[in-house]
């Protein structure tokens, strides 16, 4: 017979999960439903007039070739941010895991960027790479490379990718380091005795054992790249030149918060929500099969 733990009162389990449920409903489901409702309206900034227009906002969006183009920018940006962010963090974590002397100092320094606000991070990198004043700009000019992200779309994209990655590396690093440290030493030692070098030990033992961490970070980094990066774009490039860095979430922010087109912005956030839900489902259904817990 299966053993089951049974609560004495039928209400107790509900009471116990109620706080979590209420928080989820109030802070996630209610705003999401508001966004859904607003995306079907067209209203002025003061909300003194509102008309129900069904899917007109979505029609406007998908009739705009620039909106469709920003899907491509967003895809490139998110893949770059997630991939580079994970790769660099993993490399740093693998190194930090092997450091014996001063390990705490390295670890602490590597965690710092996470404490920097997105807009501040963007300003820091803009200072380094500004076409007029940037220190690195002068260095690159001296080496004969013309850096001007104000007119060069690839450089502009590079700037926001660097900033977004730099800010997220600490977070990824922490999880990778914890993951590496939880791998039993005996496994590594056994492989070493069998004659496997550090690279081989990493790829055949550590990397597969890290896969739950890597999968978790992949999901988190995709969500980060999709939702949390508007402040970086706003402070660094404002979506330019032309539309080279106008990622979806930045347009949501700009149209809603700066330009006060609340219904248009709501429609865009509904689209974004659908994309992220779809992506997460795909990740759990297909990528998760490769994860070894």
């Amino acid at each position: 017979m299966e053993k089951r733990v049974v609560f004495s009162s039928p209400w107790l389990p509900y009471a116990l999960i109620a706080p979590q449920l209420i928080i989820t409903l109030v802070f996630f489901f209610w705003p999401a439903s508001q966004a859904l409702y607003q995306s079907l309206l067209i209203q002025d900034a003061f909300a003194s007039r509102a008309q129900f227009v069904w899917f007109d906002n979505f029609k406007d969006l998908f009739n705009d070739p620039r909106y469709l183009a920003s899907f491509q920018v967003t895809a490139v940006f998110s893949v770059l941010v997630a991939f580079i962010g994970l790769a660099v963090a993993l490399l740093l974590a693998a190194f930090a895991d092997r450091v014996i002397r001063g390990a705490n100092i390295y670890k602490t320094l590597l965690i710092w960027p996470y404490a920097v606000a997105a807009a501040v991070a963007a300003v820091l990198w803009v200072f380094l790479l500004n076409p007029t004043l940037g220190v690195l700009t002068h260095l690159m000019r001296a080496l004969g490379y013309n850096w001007d992200y104000l007119l060069n779309p690839r450089q502009a994209l590079a700037l926001i990718v660097i900033t977004a990655v730099w800010k997220q590396i600490s977070y990824n690093f922490l999880f990778f380091l914890a993951g590496l440290q939880s791998i039993p030493k005996s496994l590594i030692e056994a492989a070493a005795i069998d004659g496997a070098g550090p690279a081989r030990r990493f790829w055949t033992i550590a990397f597969p054992l890290l896969s739950p961490t890597t999968f978790f970070l992949l999901v988190v980094n995709m969500v980060y790249a999709f939702f949390d990066t508007f402040a970086i774009v706003d402070a660094a490039t404002s979506g330019g030149p032309v539309q080279a860095t106008a990622i979806l979430v930045f347009k949501v922010y700009r149209d809603g918060m700066q330009a006060l087109d609340l219904s248009g912005s709501a429609a865009q956030s509904v689209v974004l929500m659908a994309i992220v839900i779809a992506l997460t489902v795909i990740q759990f259904r297909f990528v998760e099969h490769k994860v070894q817990y």
């Binding site: 330019g240 032309v242 918060m257």
Partner: protein, 441 residues
């Protein structure tokens, strides 16, 4: 009925109660949400303190609520929650949004008439007044910080290039020639511009007396359509695009970022806000001067007058009518020549009234700071026409973004001036249609 108090004592008690009551009323607080930072924030506090010290009935409390877009969003949220501030500072591109919000704001001309405050529309600078007036000529919001566009030149770089700084370029072709000479003398950047949409299209159109949008630049109604793709604007944008290719014009960013390339000495000429005067004075380590915004001499009627940018103070509708009296009194105080002259000389914004301009002249402000009055001279060059009194466009924030994007395509050589402006007009009109749909009842 016998009272325990004799008549005289009752009278005293009543008087005391009345005094208490008026004392309580004396602290009617007027909140003023604004977006002024740094030294400007100090000046705003100073103005409020002076007003508070000048009378006992009202207390104006300035509150910094973030940048222009943030404070506007905050005020709209407060309005929707039924608790708006009394005075809100709104940037010029938000004007159409505020005007369309009937029931949320109280027009200034109405306020001043109802409260019997002295108010003389003729006392304002024409170009300042007209930007914020309705088609009947009634002032809707109170001008506060206004600036316009001027040309700044680096005297030292001019001399090095064999140019005479006493004779700065007056027309756009002269700007090009000067930029060529500057480049030839080894400068990395001859000419740049701040706020490209505002300077090179919005005010450019007014300065050359050509239309930016139909229906009197949008003053005539929500059905307005953009038309800044006329031959004069196309020629100018194409010229700038050609100069960008040759390297005589260097693009340095959409908003105020290009200013740093002037103060650092990299660019020897910049067209940007007259409000940058104090910044340049503090940071430029070379001789420089202010010059009049260039124009094309072959365009009939140019130069006309430039248009302003900056912000005005909007009165939000109040449940408590007592507030209006205080706001009206504060506005009278704010527009007095003394307050305006001080604001003008402290900040570099133009004075909003002719009285303040005269006072500044009397005080010798312009002999002390040569070129400080060029902005006012441009604004008052001629009486504003339908093309030069200002712009009244819905979704203006988006329209400026569209213009920025299309102009960047010209500077990087992807589009011609005509292609970019045609596309900007088309995309901008879609925004105007959206705004019309949202605001027509």
């Amino acid at each position: 009925m016998h009272s325990r108090f004799p008549g005289a004592a009752r009278a005293i008690l009543a008087a005391a109660l009345l005094a208490l009551a008026t004392q309580a009323q004396a602290v009617t607080e007027i909140q003023w949400w604004h977006s002024m930072t740094g030294a400007l924030n100090d000046r705003v506090d100073e103005i409020a303190n002076k007003f508070n010290a000048s009378q006992k009935d009202y207390k104006v409390t300035p509150i910094y609520k973030g940048q222009y877009d943030e404070s506007m969003t905050a005020a709209i949220a407060a309005y929707r929650a039924g608790n708006p501030p009394q005075i809100l500072q709104v940037f010029e591109v938000g004007t159409a949004t505020m005007m369309a919000a009937k029931g949320a704001v109280k027009p200034v001309y109405q306020l001043m008439a109802e409260q019997h405050e002295k108010f003389d529309p003729k006392g304002f600078l024409g170009a300042v007044y007209s930007y914020y007036a309705d088609t009947a000529g009634n002032l809707i919001s109170m001008p506060f910080n206004s600036s316009t566009q001027v040309l700044y030149i680096n005297d030292d770089a001019f001399k090095k290039a064999g140019l005479d700084p006493n004779n700065p370029p007056k027309t756009w072709p002269e700007v090009e020639k000067a930029a060529e000479k500057l480049k030839a003398s080894g400068a990395t950047c001859g000419f740049t511009t701040g706020w490209q949409s505002w300077v090179q299209l919005e005010s450019f159109s007014a300065w050359h007396n050509v239309s930016f949008a139909n229906l009197q630049n949008g003053f005539g109604g929500l059905g307005t359509k953009l038309e800044f793709n006329g031959p004069v604007q196309v020629k100018h944008i194409q010229n700038l695009g050609d100069w960008a290719k040759k390297g005589t014009f260097t693009y340095k960013g959409r908003k105020d970022e290009p200013l740093a390339s002037f103060t650092s000495g990299e660019c020897a000429m910049i067209t940007t806000s007259s409000g940058s005067y104090a910044n340049i004075k503090a940071n430029a380590k070379f001789a420089w001067r202010v010059a009049t915004l260039p124009y094309y001499a072959d365009v009939a009627g140019a130069p006309q007058n430039t248009i302003i940018g900056g912000a005005t103070l909007w009165v939000m509708n109040q449940k408590n009518p007592d507030m209006y009296k205080g706001i009206a009194k504060f506005f009278t105080f704010l527009s007095s020549p003394e307050v305006q002259e001080k604001w003008h000389s402290d900040t570099g914004y133009v004075p909003i009234t002719l009285g303040a301009y005269d006072l500044a002249k009397q005080k010798g402000l312009y002999t002390e700071r040569p070129g400080f009055d060029i902005a006012i001279k441009e604004l008052t060059n001629k009486p504003p026409t339908v093309n030069s009194k200002g712009l009244r466009l819905g979704n203006f924030v988006q329209i400026r973004n569209i213009i920025d994007e299309e102009l960047e395509a010209v500077w990087s050589g992807q589009k011609t001036g005509k292609q970019a402006l045609d596309e900007a007009v088309k995309r901008g009109n879609e925004q105007l249609e959206r705004f019309q749909k949202a605001n027509e009842s």
